[in-house]
Symmetry: C2
């Protein structure tokens, strides 16, 4: 097994090299896209992205932006999947994956701190002091503090959205004001260095927008092209406003117990502040 | 570590239960959505979905449809992540995940056989006789034989698209005719029981369409709503036709060596037939 893992890593490093030349701004382009403060020929400092993973998170919340970043970013950006330990975690759709950094080994200076959403597992995090303390500590020095879906409720429970405009999954927006955030009913919300996305698939739009901010529009457009992101949803059902009532009502009523629990978790978090 | 994995599984099974009542057609609804051939009160037989995972595949190709399936399907559908062995595999963006079934333990009767794409790792599979033989054997009895992105080139190398209309990632479509498939320049192509999607993000549209075929439109619409799939791409750059030429040309020229290698792999596959 050890030997096979080593072989897999060789395959992935070859694949990553291809991707970086595909989506990324290859450095042999002639016209450098390096920061104007970086002298030509010197390597800019390595930047770090930390994406939280945890039991019960929704994989697509994270894989959307992670793919947009990987297909647009320079080689001097490193992506970390961070959890308390390096033990594998299982998502809400049954994918078991490996963190690449623990809270202890996660770099302290981050370009992006990111929290994906979920349901029961995410509400559990709103009550997990170890997680909230880690997020608060890393957020202090992060360039962007971000989330997709109900990940914003975890940022909020850590006190990181107080006084900020923010969004979350459409079914959970009423929880935001309980965390002293200003609720915005939108798919993408940017307020100073806090960037929050709506439910699940919004992470793709979110990831491409952040890539454009950090790497320029052409890099983000290359990623969008490599991802063939020209969406063609089969139904008008992506929001409670556009979906048929017969579709919205059962989802809303089945969400209700989770919303009630998230409201309770928000009150408990505020009591800690 | 063993203990933590057990705890994680408990968390995920709770989360899955929530998801199934959220997206799925709960059986306590009163009006049964069971197949008309299934007598009321009897459980329909368990159906199996097998999604291939392998070193260097693109996670988003698989996570898109996997999420659409999980958020819309009934409890009598089981999803398997299948590889040669249960050893972890690492994707082209550096996600290391665990297969849940090996070629040996994968069920023989499948509702859906699915292959995600990638680049170097995918072309390697076009030359991997063990993989091609496995796919050909399971395809014989599968209700749907499917792929997203360059996954169709692997199906094609296994001889499974001969005489079928099919699509793939926009940059690789010229390889399809070499595999005796009829190239279609589209995001989603259905021909008898072969269903192929375009590049990476097309898997979300693909997953929702297949969910609708198998579970009915309302189930797929509930999944689309839970996934908040109301896309808002930041740029017009999702296809080579809509993206600026300055974006398309570098991607196309960097893809060229992979296209050449995939063409060669297709010729080698045909020599095997």
């Amino acid at each position: 097994m050890r030997r096979r893992q080593i072989l897999d890593l060789a395959a992935v490093s070859a694949a990553l090299a291809t991707l970086q030349t595909l989506g990324g701004c290859a450095k042999d382009d002639g016209d450098s896209e390096q920061s104007p403060t970086t002298p030509r020929g010197e390597n800019p400092p390595m930047q770090h992205i930390a994406m939280l993973v945890y039991p019960g998170f929704t994989a697509l919340d994270l894989i959307g932006p992670q793919t947009a970043f990987a297909f647009s970013f320079l080689e001097d950006v490193q992506n970390h999947l961070v959890w308390k330990t390096l033990d594998p975690v299982t998502t809400d759709t049954g994918i078991t994956l490996h963190p690449t950094a623990s809270f202890e080994t996660c770099p302290e200076e981050l370009a992006i701190l990111f929290v994906p959403g979920g349901m029961a597992g995410t509400i559990a995090l709103m009550r997990d002091v170890e997680v909230l303390d880690f997020l608060a500590a890393r957020a202090e020095r992060a360039t962007y503090v971000t989330s997709v879906c109900t990940g914003s409720l975890v940022l909020g429970a850590a006190g990181l959205l107080r006084g900020y405009r923010a969004t979350t999954h459409w079914g959970m927006r009423e929880v935001l004001p309980l965390l002293e955030a200003e609720r915005v009913d939108a798919r993408y919300v940017e307020d100073r260095n806090r960037i929050t996305g709506g439910g699940v698939t919004s992470g793709i739009d979110f990831g491409l927008r952040i890539a454009a901010k950090m790497q320029g529009e052409e890099a983000a457009q290359r990623a969008q092209l490599v991802m063939e992101y020209d969406p063609d949803p089969p139904f008008q059902a992506g929001t409670p406003e556009s979906a048929p009532a017969a579709v919205v009502e059962p989802v809303r009523s089945r969400l209700a117990p989770s919303v009630a629990d998230a409201r309770l978790a928000a009150e408990q978090a505020r009591a800690r502040w």
